[in-house]
Symmetry: none
Subunit: 200 residues, 4 copies
DNA sequence: GATGAATGAGATTTCATTCAT
DNA sequence: TATGAATGAAATCTCATTCAT
């Protein structure tokens, strides 16, 4: 049995190839989804060969897991970065900066998270991890909402808010809608602020 | 000229089988997505053989198209059903009823619409139709928002609002979150009302 | 087990249907060959249904056998009809009449004989019968050649002569060449006469 | 973009495999015809797997096309090789050599050309190319006939002559007749000479 | 390290044939 | 007698993965 990545020490060239494969994987999973993405496509996108892929990843799922983990880590950091949102213009400005971060991170990792839909039934572990990731982020949002609005706020608000962010960015990424960046950020910020953070 | 569906005259039994296949397709596409759904799965779920499947549909895509069209039709009717939302309790109640309708329709057809993500690259026509469907619904929402809030409302608001509804219901359907029906409807109604329909 | 044709006594309607199927079979086998011809095609061409076919023939091969037998019978009669060919104008005229008969019979049955190519490996019995048929006809020709030309004539001459007739007519039928009837008959008559029947 | 033949760079081993597949294809198409030939048969005959087959050819038709093209090229060269046939013994000898070439080439490629009958409806391009091929050869023959016999010779003579050659060799190949090589060549040469090239 | 070659499990699709109405 | 419904064996083709160079 040939040694997989983990066990090998990679030199510079090797690291470069692995990196190209990760980038390629992100691109291909993003545009095709997990099932439709063929190892061949990924290898081609990384300008390397079929066989080389298996030098760096045990299988297609292994690469996916690496990308998904990376994506989830990034997503979770977003929760930490969301500070208290006050009901005034400062709060609104802080929220806007955070939404802007969300948009950037989604642009890079969002589609991988999506490709999940395919996976979640096949790989329970990854699915659980994904749910935790989602929960972590939505809980962070829910906490800030509770803080800002006082009573009457629930976990469901966090999820609803995150839903809006996620799907709006998805539609944007998949070119089903094409608003310019500023409009997108403004719209989401306002809707979040009015809909969740402003006390009734 | 193969003996496919189109030209055949169906008797009662035939119509029943076709119907079972449609139901089964909805179920299987919903839980597996388009790519992972095997024709055999669908046939089995319809308690018939795969050979029979091809008596009623030219291929997997053909069945999918039928389901997607049905789903889009339903979704589009939602736009028509959304009347003016006033800023008072009546408006809030009307909105709640509409959200409740959305939840019901999504429970039946939502996942098929999702399974689209896989498809949209393969079948341009269906993709276009899907975008139109999305646009129709989000425009209907945007119009009501403009009506209620006056100036400063944009198409992007319609999309943001629809995004929240769609994804929240998706998470709910896929069991990634499990709020009870009333909580879900209340949360969405409030967030929509405060976030989009209540004048600032 | 349902009773096949043989055992059933057919009334007028039944005989008509069977006849339509035979005609349709000839047409479809001719244009598609045995393998590519689908029972559905034949049934459709006979303006009847799928299931009806099996009321009159045990299977696809059964129908083919019926047609092939008919074709072989016809072909064999051609041998009997070829009288002595003298070296003069009377012989030439007699030959021309016979060639003309050949062309007519080939127009009706030739393609079925061809569809054989597909079959001959699958159905040894039919293949043998076909070879006999071929041998009967080529021998009849060879005999007349020997008669006309005296010594130095062989069985191979009969085959060569039949080959020319068969393939020329095939090309004509399949529209790969399109000479008018008179030209075709004249050319074949002359070539047969000069090439086989005229003493050196 | 599937990893089909076209874009791949073949090494020695790959070229050898491709070659084995071509040979195997010739054999299997020859004995079964296009429709009845299964890809598995061809792969087995080439001592490889069907998966490998698709590494070198897009599908069964692709392989067939390659073989047919090769066959047509060979057949067309025969036209060029037929020099003037004089009415004397030299002409007869030259003709005999050419017939001998025809027999050899037919032994290798003839059956593939036949397997065409199945195809010609499915692949119009190949069909057209085949007709051209047929026309090229029969025209070359017709030209030599005109040269030798003066007036009164037509295109139909070329076709009749080619018909005889083709079908006689076919019967021989398919073991429906079994004359020895010399007899076959002698018979065909004499019939061609007397029937087409000798002035009346 | 890299890559072409090979494999075979599994998915789709066709169609001859049987069955029930 | 006629015909729609159902079936499953068999064929095509794809692609993740292993292997040899």
């Amino acid at each position: 049995m040939p040694p997989t990545t983990r066990e090998r020490t990679l030199r510079a060239q090797g690291r470069a190839t692995r990196c190209r494969l990760l980038l390629a994987g992100r691109k291909v999973f993003a545009s095709h989804g997990f099932h439709a993405a063929r190892v061949d496509d990924i290898a081609a996108a990384a300008k390397t060969s079929h066989g080389t892929f298996y030098l760096y990843f045990a299988n297609k799922e292994d690469l996916f897991r690496a990308l998904a983990t990376e994506a989830m880590d990034e997503m979770e950091t977003l929760g930490d970065r969301l500070g208290p949102i006050t009901a005034d213009d400062d709060g609104r400005a802080a929220l806007r900066r955070w939404v802007s971060d969300f948009v950037d991170i989604y642009a890079t990792h969002g589609k991988v998270i999506l490709a999940w839909a395919d996976r979640e039934f096949a790989d329970r572990d990854l699915g659980r991890r994904g749910n935790e990731s989602l929960a972590t982020l939505s809980t962070a949002i829910a906490d800030r909402i509770a803080e800002a609005r006082g009573g009457g706020s629930t976990a469901a608000d966090g999820v609803a808010c995150l839903s809006m962010l996620e799907r709006f960015n998805y539609f944007q990424q998949s070119r089903q809608i094409r608003f310019d960046r500023a409009t997108a950020i403004d719209t989401l910020t306002r809707a979040m602020f009015d809909g969740f953070f402003r006390p009734t």
